[in-house]
Symmetry: C2
Subunit: 144 residues, 2 copies
Amino acid sequence: MLSIGKLSAATGVKVPTIRYYEQIGLLPEAERSAGNQRLYGPKAQERLGFIRHARDLGFPLEAIRELLSLSDRPDIPCAAADQIAKRQLAAVHARISRLQALQAELERMIVQCAHGRISDCRVIGVLGNHQLCLHDDHGEAGQG
Amino acid sequence: MLSIGKLSAATGVKVPTIRYYEQIGLLPEAERSAGNQRLYGPKAQERLGFIRHARDLGFPLEAIRELLSLSDRPDIPCAAADQIAKRQLAAVHARISRLQALQAELERMIVQCAHGRISDCRVIGVLGNHQLCLHDDHGEAGQG
DNA sequence: CTAGGTCCTCTAGCGACTAGAGCTTCAAGG
DNA sequence: CCTTGAAGCTCTAGTCGCTAGAGGACCTAG
């Protein structure tokens, strides 16, 4: 049985975060020692490892909750888990495209900076003027 | 003079967001009509356009605040603005690399999904098992 | 003059934590 | 056995960048 600190060290999840996960019901309520301190067995460690890993991959906690409830019933088809992963992949795709556009624009801004006065500076100029900008639409700002 | 609603329509920034920007001091306090409603001139519109644009590019509000304070003094050198843009670019680079690794892993998970039972499912399996995973370190999770 | 759309202020909520106050418990050393 | 200090506990509030809603005031078109 591990204390919360040892569990934290073992999984790389910070102590307050573990308590937070318990609070929102992502982890079951931990057993307690005589002195009311949390104790964790290997199952809890595994579950927390799963959560940690999924968070690393950018899954939101709600998706992880779903994934966990799925993995609690090993006899159902995995299409649902597949779907969740695909949704996550699509979100990641979108984020990458967006960031790449952004990167291009920042590079352009920096290259064009006259290194003179602010009034000549592209960094300020581009941001203040939609004409000088790569994305000139201003309808969608979707950021999953 | 535009009402807040017209300004919102003109810039694509939502009404409560405009009030929020005023509240945190990113926009100056607006003039008011006889009936206490906000009125905006072209300067405010320009400033809000700048903010909107910088937000689109992923600048945090604090960086925008800095940029704005820079552009309020057009006689100083633009090295500071340049620095901010470069800092942003570095952060964007890092985000992209991270997301690309993530994308690779998600694709691997999905491709390998056995389309069978949850118990065989890669999505669950990979998440529960560090051995099956590309990133096997678990120290940093830095996400800007 | 009325209807309803827009505006006002204020407060609370989102996700996913993080930080701090003020207390208790535990493990190691003397 | 006693002390010390690290680690644990609960609770609340803060972070970022908004967003939503309540409950009212105002403004404009018909």
